[in-house]
Amino acid sequence: MNSMPLRLLPLGFLLSTCSLLTAQKPVATVEHDGPLNRTLVVYDVRGVAPLAAGPELVLAPAKDETDPDFEGSPDGSLDSLCRLARVFVHPRLLQGESIRAIANSYLVVFGRPAQQAWIRRFLDRQAEEPKPQIDIQFTIGFLHQGANLGEVFSEAPGGIDAGTLASQFAPGSDACVFEDAFADYVRGALMSTEQFDLLNAPRILSYPATDVSLSAITQTSIVRDYTELRIGGGLEEVVIADPQVELIHDGIQLRGRVCLLPEEDGLGVDFLLDYSELQRPIPVVETALSNGQIVKIQDPELRRFELEARARLQDGEVLQIVGPLTDGRLPILWLAARQLKLPGEGR
């Protein structure tokens, strides 16, 4: 301070202010001169999105079954950010590289310089103000086998070949992405046929790197079986049929998180969706007790579709994933993520 001439004070103030606006500052760094030049950097992430939401909103389990290396932080409040960083960091983590949350305030990253640079940009994006809201929409449907998709998509817009589009709905086809408007056309064309059932289209608004969940479950009681109770003995024996009631849960459960990626307009989505549908009316089967009495039991048919996906999308893109063929039906899921801009923002 003593060495700074007075005339430079305004410039110093401006530069100090600018330096506050730059990337998340590491708290500590350990240099390593290995062949990959890896470093251990501790980032203070107290100003980043999920902490602002409060730990009471964090619903994800601390242990991730799909990622054995992921341990999570003790109280779970940093898990979302840590997990997203692990999933989407570019270049990918190699053996020995890691991203961990500690002390509920810090992210410890052991990685290459390119990864550290990515993490800084990633943290900056999550801390952007005002925080953008992200509109996430899932659409779930079943396509029955035998649909003539070449005909259904015969008027596909934008120069898309009907055969190429139809091939995206073959069992085992790769996941693909469409523009938002084109996905509307695809869904509309499919819904015009009798071979497509639109099942559900849940929608969630989320802040970046914050856990979101949605659950809409119906409970249905069914008589699954009867247990015979014998009372008395000899000629006075009475058989009572005691119904065994079972509770069936069906509906949708959705849990996940979305983040802003450093790449332009990039969104990272990490979701687990569980959809089940009880066929109604529930088929009834007649059966006889040991005394010849006829009773009716219910034999429910439950269709279940589960998706776990971690993918990168551009703002306004729609991801399409086709599931395995089951009982002549092909489950199809569309996932759209879009940043919502306030009026006047981003013109």
Binding site: G159, A175, D299, E301, E306, A311, P331
Partner: protein, 187 residues
């Protein structure tokens, strides 16, 4: 080895020297991530108690004097770069905005040029099954990128399982079909 390293760490802390500056501690951090995690936890807890950043709190007086100008120089460089980048960003945004405001062709379904692109999936597992009559029928697909591939090139490994099982005989039949496909651009 671990005990001797921790001994060194405590010696450094007693002398108010940043243990992370010791090459032996650095080497231990790199070779043993668990040690690194514990060390950083310790340093962070000290930092939180002291209320000052780790990298300066544990530094001796002499080192701080050397460090301070370098630190200010780095801050100033970053700040100058930030000002230049802000200027460039403003220029780019202004140019982009002008371009964005230009009239565009209608985005109606019959005039827009659409594309079908391969999805950039880091991991996907899709399971579909039907339960009825005490049996389950269904399958599962797993899509993961090729090992070691970067985000710019996506390969997918698909494992499909066709499964039929009953309540009394779980997993009576299980068939796996595995394939490796590259997500080439579709058109």
């Amino acid at each position: 080895m671990n005990e001797s390293i921790w001994h060194r760490v405590h010696e450094h802390l007693d002398e108010r020297v940043d243990p992370l500056e010791d090459p032996l501690v650095q080497e231990a951090c790199v070779s043993d991530p668990e040690f690194a995690k514990e060390l950083v936890s310790l340093l962070v807890s000290i930092d939180r108690l002291a209320g000052v950043p780790v990298s300066s709190s544990a530094r001796p007086e002499a080192a701080t004097k050397v460090w301070a100008p370098v630190h200010h120089l780095r801050s100033a460089s970053i700040s100058v770069a930030a000002v230049v980048l802000l200027g460039l960003a403003w220029f780019a945004f202004d140019t982009w905005s002008d371009d964005r405001d230009r009239p565009r062709p209608s985005s109606g379904p019959h005039t827009a040029a659409f594309t079908i692109r391969p999805a950039r999936i880091d991991h996907a597992r899709i399971r579909s099954e039907t339960w009825s009559g005490g049996r389950v029928r269904g399958g599962e697909r797993v899509v993961v990128p090729r090992e070691g591939s970067d985000a710019t090139e996506y390969w997918s490994r698909t494992a499909s399982a066709l499964e039929t099982r009953t309540e009394s005989e779980p997993r009576r039949l299980q068939v796996y079909v595995r394939s490796m496909t590259r997500n080439d651009p579709i058109r």
